[in-house]
Symmetry: C2
Subunit: 227 residues, 2 copies
């Protein structure tokens, strides 16, 4: 599903060069559940943004479903992104003056999903994440963990075959985190959805099958998750 | 240092009433290191905002250093807040188009700290948090964990006798989290700074001496931290 060849992402900031990604080559197959770990600043979010087609590498190749994404036109790329990838951002990226329900509906607006179906799916996702009753609340009226779950709900509603989740449990208590992870495991095992998940917590990573570790923009290990 | 009596914070949202705080009465003495835990939505951030004088309760009393904060004038309250309390927000609250250095300088602007001293202290704090070399970068040029550490640096620079830290390690890898916690322990033991810290992680809470647990706006336990 995902193949990268010698990806680099280099930021030039004045005289400094920051190598966020430094020759990342790896493959992730359909149906895998992969955890991505590593110290702060090691390139995890940058990697997620590149494979989620939200950012471009400085150099290197990225094949999504066998297609070189650099050769895609902008509209085709946006369509791929919207249909194939559900994204949970590290900073949530919720629309601030918009209800939880409407935030979760956003991906479906791009699909021309009919209004009634949009609302039903968004409500289903919010309920699955314990937010029934809070759908009309704006992000400023929700706690940190509640906002995080709205972000997760939004990633689920398009039935995308690939979910990229950047630290989806950082603001969640243990019990809620485990519930989220069990939901991801069900999506992976029953629906064959590919999941790539960034986390700092080994307990959370232990729900995955394979763990990729980053350090200073490099992959320093890639093996079966310890359980 | 902190005494609350039957604090309530009730939000009315249409027909719904959300009791973020529901009769919270407790005391925190100078020099304590307290962890605050509880499920998502249980009232932790609300409590932190009230004791940090960033928000007012619906009812109840709050004495800071023996003074009833509801009887303070706005300017006096702002001054108390700026001199006595360092705050690490759950969402960081960094100024987006401002460098890390300038973000950390902000609390000192309110104190009329001289420019050279402002810069030196801000650099000291950024260096203590592993961000030397990144001081001129804006939040958008920093990773999630790097932004979080800028937020922590900002809380330290006024030498406030009370630090309120709302999930200060949620985006940090274990090694960096332990370093932050050891810094907090040093500040508490050597400088007698009172620390109140929200966390979901028992490993992080174990650095404290006392753990207060919230559930649905109530304190459900308040005892020595298990080690
Ligand atoms: N837009 C940008 N401009 C400049 N540098 C950036 C930018 N985005 C990220 N970086 C830098 O690239 C490096 C990798 O960042 P990245 O966000 O991928 O790290 P991360 O592994 O996700 O860290 P964290 O665990 O703290 O979230 C960091 O040093 C970061 O400061
Ligand atoms: N401005 C607001 N308007 C309405 N409701 C609010 C507001 N702020 C918080 N709430 C609600 O009050 C309750 C407590 O919120 P609070 O942010 O204190 O929880 P928390 O314990 O910090 O949760 P988390 O662990 O998710 O950060 C939640 O149900 C939340 O949705
Ligand atoms: Mg990141
Ligand atoms: Mg909170």
């Amino acid at each position: 599903l995902i193949e990268t060849n010698e990806l680099k992402k280099i930021y030039l900031l004045g005289e400094n060069e920051v190598r966020a990604l430094d020759n990342v080559s790896l493959k992730i197959n359909t149906g895998e559940f992969v955890a991505v770990m590593g110290p702060s600043g090691s390139g995890k979010s940058t990697f997620m943004n590149v494979i989620g087609c939200l950012d471009e590498p400085t150099s290197g190749r990225y094949l999504l479903d066998g297609i070189d994404v650099s050769k895609m036109e902008r509209d085709a790329l946006a369509q791929i992104r919207n249909k194939k990838i559900g994204f949970v951002f590290q900073g949530f990226n919720l629309l601030p003056r918009t209800s939880a329900l409407e935030n979760v509906e956003v991906p479906m607006l791009y699909n021309n999903t009919p209004p009634r179906q949009r609302k039903d799916r968004a409500m289903w996702a919010l309920k699955a994440l314990g937010l029934e009753g809070r759908e009309h609340h704006h992000p400023s009226q929700l706690s940190g963990g509640q906002q995080q779950r709205v972000a997760i709900a939004r990633a689920l509603v398009n039935d995308a075959p690939l979910i990229l989740a950047d630290e989806p449990t950082g603001n969640l208590d243990t019990k809620t985190s485990v519930e989220i992870m069990e939901l991801f495991v069900r999506l992976n095992e029953e629906n064959k959805i590919t999941i790539v998940l960034v986390t700092h917590e080994t307990d959370i990573a232990s729900f995955s099958q394979r763990t990729i570790r980053f350090l200073d923009g490099h992959v320093i290990s890639d093996k079966a998750t310890k359980r």
